[in-house]
Symmetry: C2
Subunit: 187 residues, 2 copies
C-alpha cells in the first residue's frame, strides 16, 4: 500500500532529508511513502512547474492514502498546495489523514495576524470578512473532510520545539493508516 506524503515540507531547506525520513517511517509501518516531486525536477526547465504537477498527480492517483501536513503556512491556514491535494484525494475516495503541529484553533491563529472584532454575534477580521468560529483548527471543509473520509486531525498537546521537523503527529497518522489499510490487505 502506498501513501502520498503531502505538505509544505517540500519547501524546507532539508526537504529531501525529511522526505527520506518520512519514507523510512512509512516502511517501518509496512507502507511505501511517495514524496512530492518538487525537489526532483530541474527547476530551470521551462516547464518545471508543470512537470511537478503531473508527477505529483500521477503519484496521488497511484496512492491508497494521503497523510497531509496541515501545519499553518504563511497565514492562519494550511499550505494551499497541500489543501488542494487533500481535496483531490478525498474526491478520488482515498483514505485521507492529516496532522498539524500547531495545536491552536483557527480563531486564535487569525488573531496572530490581524485584529478580530465581535459584531452581531459574528467574529469579523480586519478585511471585514467573517472569521469561522466553530472551535476548529482550520476551515471546516478541511477538518470535516478528515473526520468523514479518514480520521480526525492529529495535533500535539503542545506546539513542538521544531514545528517543521517534529514527526510525532505524522507517526500517529501512520499508525491510523496501518489500522485502516492493513486489514484490507489481509482479506
Amino acid at each position: 500500500m502506498k501513501i502520498y506524503l503531502a505538505g509544505p515540507d517540500v519547501f524546507l531547506p532539508d526537504a529531501l532529508l525529511i522526505g527520506r525520513r518520512k519514507a523510512e517511517l512509512c516502511a517501518d509501518h509496512g507502507f511505501t511513502g511517495l514524496f512530492p516531486l518538487d525537489n526532483a525536477v530541474a527547476l530551470a526547465a521551462h516547464d518545471a512547474s508543470l512537470q511537478i504537477f503531473r508527477g505529483n498527480e500521477a503519484m496521488m492517483n497511484d496512492a491508497d492514502a494521503i497523510i497531509a501536513n496541515l501545519t499553518p503556512f504563511r497565514g492562519p491556514s494550511a499550505d494551499a498546495g497541500t489543501v488542494y491535494e487533500l481535496g483531490y484525494m478525498a474526491g478520488r475516495g482515498k483514505l485521507v489523514l492529516g496532522y498539524s503541529n500547531d495545536p491552536a484553533n483557527y480563531v486564535a491563529r487569525v488573531k496572530q495576524f490581524e485584529t478580530v472584532e465581535s459584531r452581531n454575534g459574528l467574529l469579523i477580521g480586519a478585511d471585514g470578512l467573517a472569521v469561522e468560529d466553530f472551535g476548529l483548527a482550520d476551515n471546516l471543509m478541511l477538518i470535516h473532510c478528515l473526520d468523514l473520509h479518514g480520521a480526525p486531525l492529529v495535533t500535539p498537546r503542545r506546539r513542538p520545539a521544531d514545528l517543521w521537523h517534529d514527526l510525532d503527529s505524522f507517526t500517529a497518522c501512520l499508525q491510523i493508516a496501518a489500522e485502516r489499510l492493513r486489514p484490507q490487505q489481509a482479506r
Copy 2:
C-alpha cells in the same frame, strides 16, 4: 447543468446577496448556480459546521463544474476551504474553473507579508522555507489543476476597486463554462 460556486464570498457581510447575484449570472448563461450552505445553517446548532460540510459536499457531488474564487484570502494564497473544494472537484473529474481578482503573482504577494531573500538561486521566506518562484499566481498545484482540468486562471488586468464584489472575472469563467459544457448537453 449545475455549477458549484466556491469562494470566501461566504464570509462577506452581504454573502447571501452576492450568492444570489452569482446565481442570477449563472441563469443568464443557462446554468444553475449552487452557492455553499455556510449561511443557510443555524450557526448555533451543535453540529452546524458538520451540517455545512455535508451540504456543501452533496452540492459538489451534484454539480457538473466548479467556479472557484481564488482571490487571496488572509495571506498570499487563496482561501483554504475554496482550495479544498477545487481539489475535490478535480479528483471527481469535474470541470474546474477559477478566477482571482488580484492579478499579482505569488512572489509579489508573499513580499507584502514578509521579507523574501535570495539564497543559492532560491527565494527564501522569513520562515526559512522556499517561496515558489514560477511566475504563477499561486501554488503550482492550484494553477496547473486549472490548466489541465479546466481553463487557465482568469484574472483582471488591473486589481478592481472592489476586490470582493467585482464579478467580471467570474462572468468570464461562466462564458468558458458555457463553451465547455453546453455542447455536451446538445449531443
